[in-house]
């Protein structure tokens, strides 16, 4: 017997998941070796892109009915989109998994707590930069007041998955503003800075250093005030409409001819920003503006390269020292196809020897808030990643996204390697290199 929920779920899939996109998949299986969950589950087809696409289609066609196993198959997807560059048929997996999440979200009854958390997160904190700031102030307060120690004792965090506890342990210390430490050059170009909600709060230091480096390279940095969280978290959680609310606010905030680039320093945000144009295709009022916004979007490494940072780095002399490596941000690599630029900067950084991490392009398991929702699978994937790290033994693991940064830090901590290595955002790394070697 098909239950009411199962009926509703099938209809929701029919309504939300595009048949045409599903038909693009010819099931050749070329995506399988690119999928971290397929590999981490010893080749379980239900945890592969081909398997999930088949399940989406089967949900539409009524070949399966909604149950725990089908739900798990979709939940287990990292959304890293490594399958997209691997797919010769050009299947838009990112769109399909987002549509699937919308379909599930719309048809699924939510428990009271989940509803409340979702509402608070997506309508509250991540929708409003001021709220984000005050939430972060809470975190700050929590860290400094000694409450951190107390709650740890009380075991409040035991209510959360074990992974969240580890995550909490690596949250960066939120710092207050510091004085400028770098020389500036005459301004030759103007760029607008998309600060990102997490980056602007938990990673304020990194944002400050981003601005300093850009100014050092001769850019004038503009910070439009009305900017919001990019909306990626909403989009990836089946709340695409709420994500688009943020998108429109950002498009309006950055609607100016004064600058050619809108730069970001978080791979996950950057990919979503670059897809505003695609998502708002059917909205005549925003379509053109959204496309323009997405065209101007650029990640920080690519902009550094364009502003000639490589030459500057090459001109500095220092003796080759510790090994530095790079863990790709999935969305920066798979969606924006940016992977050479950060590597070129690291290769040119004086005082370090760049070495490639095994499977650097494969997800670390952070994937937005995946590590909180699917702690077991996230750990399996992180363990695979750390195997390569232990082989390479770098002094620094460079990342381009806050989630990856924290995840790699967790990995280092789990392996007890804190004394030997650090996970560092590429901006923080370059800032230190430049500061040490300028003049």
């Amino acid at each position: 017997m098909v239950s009411e929920l199962q009926q509703r779920m099938q209809e929701s899939f029919q309504e939300n998941v595009s048949e045409e996109y599903l038909m693009d998949c010819m099931r050749c299986g070329f995506c399988l070796p690119a999928c971290p969950t397929y590999l981490a589950t010893n080749q379980d087809e239900t945890h592969s892109p081909r398997g999930r696409i088949s399940l989406m289609k089967a949900m539409r066609d009524g070949d399966v009915v909604w149950d725990g196993s089908v739900e798990e198959a979709f939940d287990m997807c990292l959304g890293c989109r490594a399958c997209e560059p691997a797919c010769p048929a050009g299947v838009q997996y990112g769109v399909l998994i987002e549509e699937t999440r919308v379909a599930v979200q719309q048809a699924k009854p939510q428990g009271g707590v989940e509803k409340m958390v979702r509402k608070a997160a997506f309508d509250g904190v991540f929708a409003d930069q001021k709220k984000m700031a005050s939430t972060v102030k809470l975190v700050q307060f929590y860290q400094r007041s000694g409450l951190q120690a107390t709650t740890r004792k009380i075991g409040f965090l035991n209510l959360f998955p074990p992974f969240m506890k580890e995550m909490e342990g690596v949250l960066p210390k939120v710092e207050s503003k510091k004085k400028r430490t770098m020389l500036e050059k005459p301004k030759t170009t103007q760029v607008a800075f998309f600060t990102g909600c997490l980056m602007d709060t938990l990673f304020q230091e990194t944002n400050r250093k981003t601005i300093e480096l850009l100014e050092w390279l001769g850019a004038e940095v503009i910070l439009p005030k009305e900017q919001q969280c990019c909306g990626a978290l909403h989009g990836h959680s089946g709340e695409l409409e709420k994500g688009m609310r943020n998108a429109k606010a950002n498009i309006d905030a950055f609607d100016s001819d004064d600058y050619a680039f809108i730069v970001n320093n978080a791979g996950g945000c950057g990919a979503f920003l670059s897809e505003y144009g695609k998502h708002l295709q059917s909205e005549p009022q925003y379509r053109k503006k959204a496309e323009r916004f997405s065209r101007k979007t650029i990640d920080i490494s690519s902009l550094f390269v364009r502003l000639g940072m490589n030459l500057q780095l090459k001109a500095m002399t220092a003796e080759e020292g510790a090994i530095v490596t790079y863990q790709d941000s999935c969305h920066l690599r798979n969606v924006n196809k940016v992977f050479l630029e950060p590597r070129s900067l690291l290769q040119d950084a004086p005082g370090f020897e760049y070495k490639e991490l095994i499977d650097a392009g494969s997800c670390c398991g952070s994937a937005g808030i995946y590590n909180l929702l699917q702690p077991e699978m996230a750990k399996k994937i992180l363990d695979l990643k750390m195997k390569g790290v232990k082989e390479l033994q770098p002094a620094k693991i460079i990342t381009s996204n806050p989630g990856c940064l924290m995840q790699m830090q967790v990995g280092i901590q789990q392996e007890g390697l804190e004394k030997e290595m650090q996970a560092v955002h590429i901006v923080d790394f370059l800032h230190e290199v430049v500061q040490k070697n300028q003049n």
Partner: protein, 466 residues
């Protein structure tokens, strides 16, 4: 049903959730799908023996499955039963440097094996386009070919020994690390390409050869398909046997370019990829000759790939051709009709005419050098009327291939998809002999039932060619 199997392989290796049954209901063949009852991941030959014994007693179908990249519906469980996976049997067991063999479990990924032996200065030539994900077990069961088939042959030319569980649970070791062996019928070869219909292969010993010192790749573009086909014949007639002589038509070039963005000329009507390996001198000589032959036969451009990296990119593009073609229409149905290589130009021409005759879109790529083409119909399964025309076109391609002395499948296997056409190639007496063999080895028909042997044969077409 599942309890006896849990006690054999452990609960974690028995899957019967709805999601699992659906995820193992298909392979890479368009329009074929059927749910199994259970998905099992045995750990060793003993597990498989126990599983087969229960299945024999209970008459449960067994479908061995590698990575499900099959292109003839050979791993679709069309009568339900058990899908047998080899994800727990994926170890390289032994590299024998004195006998130049490697022994592996069936679940080893083809490319992993290839890289492993090359790191040891040895060479395993069969390289199906899906090698990045296909398994050796699947390759052996399908007798897969690849891009290097012209010079080095196909999977069957490298199988030296097999461990095999017969449908009654009996374990046999067939063949050996021997250069010569004529003791009795060649039962080992019977299992290669049997598509899992005679038993389960659980261990494989493969022949290796020394890794060639060097290789070089040439690329030629043409204004017509015929010129490319003439070039292929001329190369062979000039006594050159290249490793690779691959062909792509205009539509395929465009689709691959859409995927790879490597600057292939979309306006070219045809492209040939020509590779030779061996010692430096021979490779240089052969490649220069092939480029000259291409120019003599009307190539608009014929050049040497700038680097090994560029050559690798081009080969990756060629391997992705089928999947890339599926960008164009919702459904891709491909064939691998094969003709003697002297007939390649005639076959190419016939395919073009058939496409026009039935008003269907066919793009062709393939292993031109060994006469193995992959005409691919781009269509939409939801359009019943078009699908009828597609089927007629494909039938006519089979027919023409057989008339030219060819076969209905060169390397993909018969599976469920081509079973209705097998008699066209083998004749009634050939089918009878095959049935007798199947009957004597698997009297209960539990091993991958519904494959190779169709319930009904298609009536052979009568064609009047001009």
């Amino acid at each position: 049903m599942k309890n006896p199997f849990i006690s054999i392989v452990g609960a974690e290796n028995v899957k019967d959730s709805q999601a699992h049954l659906l995820a193992y209901s298909y392979d890479a063949t368009a329009n074929f799908q059927a749910m199994p009852d259970l998905v099992l991941s045995p750990k060793n030959t003993e597990d498989i023996t126990e599983i087969v014994k229960i299945c024999a007693k209970e008459q449960i179908p067994i479908v061995p499955r590698g990575s499900g990249t099959n292109l003839a519906a050979g791993t679709v469980p069309n009568q339900g039963g058990i899908v047998l996976l080899f994800n727990n049997m994926n170890k390289i067991l032994e590299l024998d440097k004195e006998n130049l063999t490697v022994t592996v479990q069936p679940g080893v990924i083809t490319q992993d094996l290839s890289i492993y032996v090359e790191q040891n200065g040895l060479f395993y030539p069969p390289d199906p386009s899906s090698m990045k994900i296909s398994t050796i077990g699947g390759n052996v069961s399908e007798n897969s070919g690849g891009l290097r088939g012209l010079k080095y042959g196909v999977t069957k030319d490298y199988v030296k020994a097999l461990t095999f569980v017969a449908p009654d649970g009996e374990v046999m070791k067939l063949g050996g690390k021997l250069a010569k062996d004529v003791a009795g019928y060649d039962l080992m070869s019977l299992l290669v390409g049997a598509e899992g219909t005679l038993g389960v292969i659980t261990e494989i010993t493969l022949k290796l050869i020394p890794l060639p010192v060097t290789k070089k790749t040439g690329i030629a573009y043409f204004n017509s398909m015929e010129d490319a086909a003439k070039t292929v014949s001329a190369i062979i007639a000039n006594r050159i046997i290249p490793v690779t002589l691959e062909f792509m038509d205009k539509g395929t070039i465009g689709a691959v370019e859409d995927f790879m963005k490597i600057g292939l000329p979309r306006e070219a009507e045809a492209m040939l990829l020509m590779e030779q390996d061996g010692n430096d001198e021979q490779v240089d000589e052969d490649i220069q000759k092939m480029i000259a032959i291409a120019e003599e036969n009307g190539a608009t451009s014929a050049i040497l790939a700038a680097s090994e990296k560029e050559a690798d990119i081009l080969k990756t593009g060629r391997r992705a051709a089928l999947s890339a073609l599926s960008r164009k229409r919702p459904t891709t149905i491909l064939e691998d009709a094969t003709v003697p290589r002297s007939e390649i130009a005639k076959m190419v021409k016939a395919i073009q005419e058939i496409a026009v005759k039935y008003d269907v879109q066919i793009n062709t790529f393939g292993h031109a050098g060994d006469g193995n083409l992959h005409p691919t119909c781009l269509t939409d399964v939801r359009d019943k009327e078009e699908m009828e025309r597609v089927e007629k076109a494909l039938e006519e391609i089979f027919q023409v291939a057989i008339e030219l002395g060819g076969t209905i499948t060169g390397e993909h296997g018969v599976g469920e998809m081509k079973a209705p056409y097998l008699e066209w190639k083998l004749g009634a007496s050939g089918m009878k002999l095959m049935r007798n063999i199947k009957q004597s080895i698997d009297p209960q028909n539990i091993m991958n039932p519904g494959k190779i042997f169709a319930k009904e044969m298609k009536k052979r077409l009568v064609i009047h060619n001009g």
